[in-house]
Amino acid sequence: MCTPTKRAQWREDLQHFRKDHGISKKVLLNCCLVRRIITWASPSPKDSVEDELELSAVRHRPEGLEQLEAQTRFSRKELQILYRGFKNECPSGVVNEETFKDIYSQFFPQGDASTYAHFLFNAFDTDHNGSVSFEDFVMGLSILLRGTVQEKLNWAFNLYDINKDGYITKEEMLDIMKAIYDMMGKCTYPVLKEETPRQHVEVFFQKMDKNKDGVVTIDEFIDCCQNDENIMRSMHLFENVL
């Protein structure tokens, strides 16, 4: 807690620090002050209640309809429909990861969809601020539903690349695979064994990793996918969705 005595003590420290290091007040203010105030004001890690309070206090309004129309490939009416559904579920205008997971698990109740939803959330949350606003949401959908094959594959690569370093490693792929298999749950026939995801990853890497360097780059990925019949045929899944 930021008690008065502590605050006074800190002010004193700051003055000493400034004197010792000859830093101008303004610079110091910008650097340390803000951060220290934040850490002093809320020493405990944020728990979900505060999180919710913060989010409920946040009222995010999306950009105008015309701008979104220009930026995405949706028509005006489609944007209207999308926004109405979005706003109904998330009246505050932003989705946080919990809601994301909740919604996704309602579609796949038989298994545990939270891991996959987590990866999806990170993929949608392009500016990595912990919440997906309507613009992020619509941009993502625009690419996935109305984009070219190249764009879609690019997006998929982005999804698989968990740490966003441009390479998909076997570990990342294994995580993704496990997440997908988790979503299926136990109700598969034949029953999935423990090493099925691992085998699946091996198969995937066999296919994708052309130069056998243990990682898949984006070019390898896109090339490989475009040459794969199955994948190309499955692209129709994204038509007529809206």
Binding site: L82, F119, L120, I176, F204, F221, D228, N230, N240, V241
Partner: protein, 647 residues
Amino acid sequence: MAAGVAAWLPFARAAAIGWMPVANLPMPVAPTEKNKRQDELIILNVSGRRFQTWRNTLDRYPDTLLGSSEKEFFYNEETKEYFFDRDPDVFRSVLNFYRTGKLHYPRYECISSYDEELAFFGIVPEIIGDCCYEEYKDRKRENAERLMDDQEDNKDAKLPNMTFRETMWRAFENPHTSTMALVFYYVTGFFIAVSVITNVVETVPCGSAPNQKEVPCGERYTVAFFCMDTACVMIFTVEYLMRLFAAPSRYRFMRSVMSIIDVVAILPYYIGLVMTDNEDVSGAFVTLRVFRVFRIFKFSRHSQGLRILGYTLKSCASELGFLLFSLTMAIIIFATVMFYAEKGSSSSKFTSIPASFWYTIVTMTTLGYGDMVPKTIAGKIFGSICSLSGVLVIALPVPVIVSNFSRIYHQNQRADKRRAQKKARLARIRISKTGSSSAFLHSKRNGLFNEALELTNSTEDEQRLSKSTSLLESQHHHLLHCLEKTTVSTHILQLYIFLLFLTNHEFVDEQYYQQSYLEAGLQNYPSRSPSLSSQDGVTGTCCTRRSKKHHTPLPNASAPAHMQPLTHTHTHPQGLQELSTIHIQPLSTSRSSLNMRVDEPAPLNCQSSQITTAIISIPTPPVTTPEGDAHLPAGPTHQNVVKVSAL
């Protein structure tokens, strides 16, 4: 899946991008919507208030009225909207259910009207959200209880054929049903009181013999008390056996609380009779006499308050249990503490922990007899803590019990009030119903008048009258007429209705006429009808006229002004009959033609009438009109049965 989540389906489908590159097999083809409609607004007009929503919103719940094709039945082509003639306030909740997926129950709404609306729109009440479900269930339970109360009241109504046993049982259960039951009720009450007072007075010390110690009255007047006791027990035994005989389910009766109290009340006496004066068991016998005090519980049949108290205690069993348990815990704790605190002091009364129980109880209930007091300082401190905590522990469950009692008591009050008001309510309802049945007669009269006016072509009057009865009423009356036609003989008629309208209630005593013509009808019918029917056919009956033999004195009649042409007949009582015939005929009919029809059926102007009006004439002397006099006396005096049947 919640309705709102359906809006996220595009997102879910898009997210499948993650599976595709790793999939082993190609994805199956997605289902396409054949005729994909653009989402449209539909208008729901509920009693004038227009609600608008997207069609998709309603389609979320396809097993309800609004979500299925059932709503097409309510579609209004002209206004292109769906019209429901229901309560718009409740409809708000219904529509919000479609929008949000949660059904709420508004508190101000009556539970039965809400249930009806839900049933109409095909929504199951169980999906009411958790926020409102408690309230809904409470209200529903209250309502059900009230209905059950009403039903129980109806059970009291005397059934036509009740066996002696059933009558007796009813008399026992509800003393207000007959005087015998009331007498029995008071007699048993009196004897219960006598018995209890006897038991009490038995132990009072009455005067003593000079050099003996005081003896209680029971020992002084042994015989008297024994006789009193015997009498009471006799009465109680007889009552018990009668109840046992009359009970519909003997086994259930024997298990009920009241019967157990009855048995316990009379058993000591019989046991006392049976037992010998054995020294060993007489001690036990004395204990048994204690049970005689249970007779006072027999009063609960006589007092409703006592019954409510008993019921409250039964329903608050858990609170009472909690009270007991917490008290026991506290007593043990404090008794232990006090014992060890007082162990040190000399001549302490706290000799053991159980001995300290007494002190703890007395202190916790704030009685404070003072027979045991702590002497050490520690003991006094703990003693004060004990008394404070006692107040708290006892005060906690008591309000719950009190509120339960209050609720049950008020419920009973309300039930009694409702029962009392019921009679007045039913009486008022009956009055309004008879009002509507007289409206029926009124309209019949108007119906006749209507038809008559059609003949006479006076359209203004017709219009005036036709407005006065609604379509529903007229159809209802038509139905009743049809029933009449089926059940009542066509030759008998309601002349009085006709006369009513004719005479505007001025000089016709309807009841009198009703009686007299019914007599006439009943008497004349068998002899005349065959010939009538064979001769006349439908239209002929309207004109047939017979004169009846005997003369029934008619009240003095002064013809109303519009019957001018016939005023000269009013000197003859039977002129009324002619009045009627003439009125029904077109005015052009001459009187002579009427008179001609004494013996033969004359179709005459009756053909035009869709009125198969048959006038039953009042038993009148032979028609003597100035013109037709000559004919009638000559002809045989027939019954004047002119039949007018309305419609």
